[in-house]
């Protein structure tokens, strides 16, 4: 199933690894900040109304 990457195996694998790590990092970071900010806003609005 895994293609034979020949003598460039390390280069191709590292390009994919670096890119996937960076893509997951930006998605994870954005998601974390979103959840954190939403919770903080909900708490502030609850304080305001309660």
């Amino acid at each position: 199933m895994i293609p034979d990457l020949g003598k460039y195996g390390f280069e191709v694998a590292s390009a994919y690894a670096v890119s996937i790590v960076l893509l997951f990092a930006i998605v994870g970071l954005s998601w974390r900040q979103s959840v954190k900010q939403r919770r903080a806003l909900e708490a502030a609005e609850a304080r305001r109304h309660g």
């Binding site: 460039y8 890119s19 806003l41 305001r48």
Partner: protein
């Protein structure tokens, strides 16, 4: 209803909520299908060998690095002309996504360059203008972080964005302007002779769609976060005053 009303913070939060999961799912599907197709089901290039598989990451990320800055430019101009807060926040939200795309393009380019050119880096017009674009992204994000007043920050970063757009355009057309250096011309072209072969072109197109959709999804998510942060700040200021 005017188009501008969709950018009203409350309306924006309303319509982006249901759109977001769709954007993330379609981006994920396109990326998985495109990368799987490109990595596992396409042949090696007769000159570049298996390194041609890097094209599915390098070209879409480079494309989005430039287009993200262009999107920031449009949003910044809207801010400067119409003082539309959501557009300033959307520009701010796009910068970390754009810098990630630029970093992917630079790193995959360096990794690809070593076996093909015999070096990770050369002071080639396209590579150099891309590095400058990366530095502009850093400067843009630093400027937002350095200024407390959000309107002043939006004004100054908009001006920086206009200046930086010269390098964004330059990185796109550097090969044509100088016609020298190691980097090849465009991989995608309406000219059949210049365009990559169909066997690489179709999975590349799916990967590009995946990167575009991921960018849209991330910018919407991050703009929502920025809107919430601004609302939170307003509430905290009100709490302090009372």
């Amino acid at each position: 209803m005017s188009l501008w009303e969709y950018a009203n913070p409350k309306k924006f939060m309303g319509w982006t909520g249901p759109v977001l999961p769709w954007a993330f799912w379609t981006a994920g599907i396109c990326l998985v299908v495109g990368l799987f197709w490109g990595f596992f089901l396409t042949p090696d290039d007769y000159r570049q060998g298996s390194t041609v598989k890097i094209i599915y990451l390098h070209v879409p990320s480079a494309l989005m690095a430039i287009n993200a800055w262009m999107m920031m430019l449009v949003a910044s101009l809207i801010w400067l002309v119409r003082r539309h807060h959501v557009s300033a926040l959307a520009a701010k939200a796009a910068a970390p996504v754009g810098i990630t795309m630029t970093l992917i393009a630079l790193m995959t380019g360096a990794i690809w360059g070593q076996p093909m050119w015999g070096t990770y880096w050369a002071w080639d017009p396209r590579l150099t203008s891309f590095l400058i674009l990366f530095l502009f992204y850093l400067g843009y994000m630093a400027l937002w972080a350095a200024i407390d007043d959000p309107d002043t920050a939006a004004d100054l970063t908009s001006v920086l964005c206009i200046v930086g757009s010269v390098f964004a355009l330059l990185s796109r057309y550097a090969v044509n302007f100088w016609n020298q250096g190691l980097h090849q011309g465009a991989s995608l072209s309406l000219d059949k002779e210049e365009n990559v072969s169909d066997v690489f072109f179709f999975p590349l197109l799916v990967c590009i769609a995946g990167f575009v959709l991921l960018f849209v999804a991330l910018v919407l998510l991050r703009t929502r976060t920025e809107i919430r942060a601004r609302r939170l700040r307003a509430l905290q200021l009100r709490e302090v005053r009372t």
